[in-house]
């Protein structure tokens, strides 16, 4: 009888410690999550309609032109430091045969053109969204961001931050492999 009672008080005595331990684990997990990663509601939905002028040529490019092949839409700007960081990886992706559309976000034309001349241009086309209006439809809240769009023009994946980040890169590759007809 007394032994049972003692066991109970032992458990009770350690209860605060146990609860504290659980809280530490919970808060620890919370701290390691990145609050900047806001999941996009656009995944699985058709790319938002847009028609934007090209950066380097006359003419426009619209969301209809995205259809037909797997495409990466890479949101970048000359004022964006992380875009510079990821640029080498974007170039490698282009070299491996990936179709990449550049989405120049809230930038000045001469700055953007100079940036590409300096660092190299891996893009099939570059569209210029000078006032950032089209980017709102894409739910862009910072550069760089990269959208993966399948042959039907449906958004399959979104990378927030540089694709040069190993985790981002692996996630993107995995998402590409899931699309039937990919040439990876």
């Amino acid at each position: 009888m007394t032994e049972i009672k003692q066991n109970k008080t032992m458990l009770q005595r350690f209860m605060p410690l146990i609860i504290f331990g659980l809280l530490v684990v919970l808060l620890g997990v919370g701290l390691t999550l990145n609050p900047r990663l806001v999941p996009s509601p656009l995944i699985g939905k058709p790319a938002p309609a847009f028609e934007l002028p090209l950066l380097n040529k006359e003419g426009t490019f619209s969301s209809e032109d995205l259809k037909g092949q797997i495409t990466l839409l890479n949101v970048w700007a000359s004022w964006c430091y992380a875009c510079r960081q990821e640029h080498e990886v974007v170039k490698q992706l282009a070299k491996s045969g990936m179709n990449i559309v550049g989405f120049n976000y809230k930038d000045k034309k001469p700055d953007a053109q100079q940036w590409l001349a300096q660092l190299g241009n891996p893009y099939q086309v570059v569209v210029a969204d000078e006032d950032g209006r089209a980017a709102i439809d894409w739910g862009v809240y910072g550069a760089p961001e990269t959208f993966l769009i399948d042959q039907q023009g449906v958004i399959r994946h979104k990378v927030i931050g540089p694709v040069s980040d190993q985790q981002n890169f692996d996630d993107l590759m995995a998402a590409i492999k899931e699309i039937p007809g990919n040439n990876l």
Binding site: V38, P41, R133, Y141, G142
Partner: protein, 171 residues
Amino acid sequence: MKTLFVIVAMFFYVGAWAAPMDTFEFESEAQEKTFRKLSDELRCLVCQNQSIADSNADLAKDLRTEIHGMLLAGKNEEQIKEFMVDRYGDYVLYEPPFNPMTWLLWFGPAMIFLIALFYVRRFILQQNSVKDSGELSAEEAERLKDLQLELNLPDQNNSSENGDMKGGSGS
């Protein structure tokens, strides 16, 4: 002294943290009210602890312009919120909507409160039962007996008889 005054005065310089001012014009007071309400309720995604109304970020400015344009085009509050959620997700709302992903968020505090209430009630009832009865419970009686045996004390129930005898022999 002068330096101190300047330092103190700096704390009262409200301009340092004033909300950004825009020069939007509205067709009616109600429209302006809706604008203020919406820009207060929507989160700026660049600087996440600020509302669109408070933030100086470029994107917040663009979104304020967007909201203003939609209001002038005759969109109502719900339509504008839906526009934002479609693009940025529930996260853009400071007050999360009620759905299976957020029910714990909504009911969690109430649940914890109820659990706490249950334990407080039990604790108080336990305290009362000890105080009120004035008698030993079966458990306590047994423990008392054990202790008495251990200490070699006389059984309290017959203390009037045995106490004298023991006391006598002890002296």
